[in-house]
Amino acid sequence: MTDAAANAPILPRTTSLYELDARTVRRNRSEKRFRLYGLAAVMLGILALILLLVSILSNGASSFRQTYLTIPVTLSAERLDPSGNRDPAEMARVTTFGYLPVIAQSLIDFVAAEGIETDLNPQQFAGMISGEAPAQVRQRVLNNPDLVGQTVQLQVLVGGRIDGFFKGRVSMSSAARDSNVSPEQLLLAQALADNGAMVTRFNWRFVTAPDASDNRPEAAGLGVAIIGSVYMMLVVLFLALPIGVAASIYLEEFAPKNRLTDVIEVNISNLAAVPSIVFGILGLAIFINFAGLPQSAPIVGGLVLTLMTLPTIIIATRASLRAVPPSIRAAALGLGASKMQSVFHHVLPLAAPGILTGTIIGLAQALGETAPLLLIGMVAFVREYPAAPLEGFFDPASALPVQVYNWTQRSDPAFVERASGAIIVLLVFLIFMNAMAVMLRRRFERRW
């Protein structure tokens, strides 16, 4: 025993290691509580996500299926080509209203031939067929006038209510209260389905066809919206990536650190927080009213979204440039590389995964953006496909999120399904882009 040990104050012997003292018990309890809070928060988030996905999928999955009627249609010559010379220009005078009775009559004949009993009047027969069907048949006949006078096997869209019957949206009891459809029509539809003439099958038209008017939900598709969104993403990618990366490299590597760059830096961060609708007003004022670009055009949407995405890309790029160890820059400079060589040969390749990730996240954000597009006219009803790039950038188009917004506002309940279906398409695009971001990061990530 040394003196120091002898002089030390004599402490009471602590309790056994096997018994927890009060402090430890309290500490452990609070730690456990904290973990439970965390777990509960995560669970709540997952639950919300699952609910969202389930509701969207259960509402929207049916939009990828559509009911079609396949019957022999007699394209009577006296109705469709009164002049009789098969001149498409003259035949075009017969509007879609002239075609509907032709199809309806073919359906009546088909039902009679198949021996299905029904007491519907011709108008009710016509009511079972989609308003889109005559337009499609007319287009087909005008493209091939020789069809007139023949009987051809045609596949036509059925009305939204009949389609809804096969998807469970419309029932006999709801039809009784509905002025658009009667239980007798549903009975006939059921008979036709049993017969095999009416089938519900996978519906490519939902992703390829353009939008349709309020009373033809069965014909509405996302074609124009998808093209519009893709065009806008191309504009954003080709503008925001180079501008954003160049700006970040300049600010991070070359700019002198002074008051001016501080002000710029703060303002870039502020821009990221500006509500997106403000960018829409800006786009309306500058690109449409001042620069005279067309309304509803993907080029304008792309420019507005570029402005919105730039801060995101700049912030992500600067963060990944800053994450490159300074020793790499020093090594390059020490070898006699110029500042630019050190940045482009060493720093930029190392920062590339982060830049790509930031860009893709920025793009994904832009893809889902609705508010600014409403202000520049992308909410318009567009049935014409835009042309191929670059010309197509100036044609009117819609965009996926705007299409969702548009459809949720329509009165026909069939649009609920369409809107959810459009959300599914949008989510698929977003998941694809995020997966790409993760993949690129994994692929190009280098360690040092």
């Binding site: 400079l333 020490g334 070898l335 006699g336 060589q341 040969h345 040092w448």
Partner: protein, 265 residues
């Protein structure tokens, strides 16, 4: 007056490579280096020793203008390389750094292949006209850095996959590949184990035959082993500069003696 003396010395010591006169360095308001004069001879190893924070690394970084990359750093006085002022406005630091290479404290190979690490300098300076030339430069540099035997079969593997000592030798190979005239080494062995340190020291001794080497070190034993000239820095001042043997056995200044006997620092 002072200049006259410099010219005189320049004449009688023919091998003088770099010359620093009245060098002061400021980091913002901090006076980091105070009025330092040092002569660096050709084909000689010059060691800078001194306690941490004494300014030896700062001074080393003045010799190839690496301090230019720090915004708040200001250097006054004259430093010449072959009688040309390296701080002259006409001098491009990029060109200077090709002549005055640098090896850093922490091995910092590029995250590229061993070959590309060594070939980078020659490539950006256009030292080779074709692939065969470049191959030769890479081999010669790796041999000079005593890494060829270990690396020749894995030239395409990443340089970051080597061990610490090998990485540092790779960095030396990378620095000598550009054919510098002066090689600055900032504590090249501080991150290495004794065996790797011994290899690097051996290497420094060999490099002396072709280059003028300046090494900053914390280890007085290392300075004694590898250098011919030693400069002792203390609190930003150059306390003593002379033959290594002289400094270590018979220092003129009491502070030097205190440091090498372990009383300060």
């Amino acid at each position: 007056m002072n200049d006259m003396r410099v010219v005189e010395r320049d004449v009688d010591i023919n091998e003088l490579k770099m010359k620093a006169r009245d060098v002061d360095v400021f980091y913002g308001d901090i006076h980091a280096i105070k009025n330092v004069d040092v002569d660096i001879e050709d084909k000689t190893v010059t060691a800078f020793i001194g306690p941490s924070g004494c300014g030896k690394s700062t001074f080393l970084r003045c010799l190839n203008r690496m301090n230019d990359t720090i915004d708040i750093c200001r250097v006054t006085g004259t430093i010449t390389l072959d009688n040309e002022d390296i701080y002259d406005p006409k001098v491009d630091p990029v060109q200077l750094r090709a002549k005055v290479g640098m090896v850093f404290q922490k091995p910092n190979p590029f995250p590229k292949s061993i070959y590309d690490n060594v070939a980078y300098g020659p490539r950006i300076h256009g030292l080779s006209s074709n692939k065969a030339d470049l191959d030769q430069i890479v081999e010669r540099s790796l041999r000079r850095a005593a890494l060829w035997n270990e690396a020749k079969d894995r030239l395409n593997e990443p340089g970051t996959g080597l061990s610490g000592g090998q990485q540092q030798r790779l960095c030396i190979a990378r620095a000598v590949a550009t054919n510098p005239e002066v090689l600055l080494m900032d504590e090249p062995c501080s991150a290495l184990d004794p065996i790797a340190t011994a290899q690097v020291e051996e290497l420094i001794d060999e490099l002396r035959s072709q280059y003028s080497v300046v090494i900053v070190t914390h280890s007085m034993q290392q300075a004694a082993r590898v250098s011919q000239k030693t400069a002792f820095f203390h609190l930003g001042e150059l306390v003593e500069f002379g033959e290594t043997g002289h400094i270590f056995t018979n220092p003129d200044d009491p502070r030097t003696e205190s440091y090498i006997t372990g009383r300060i620092g």
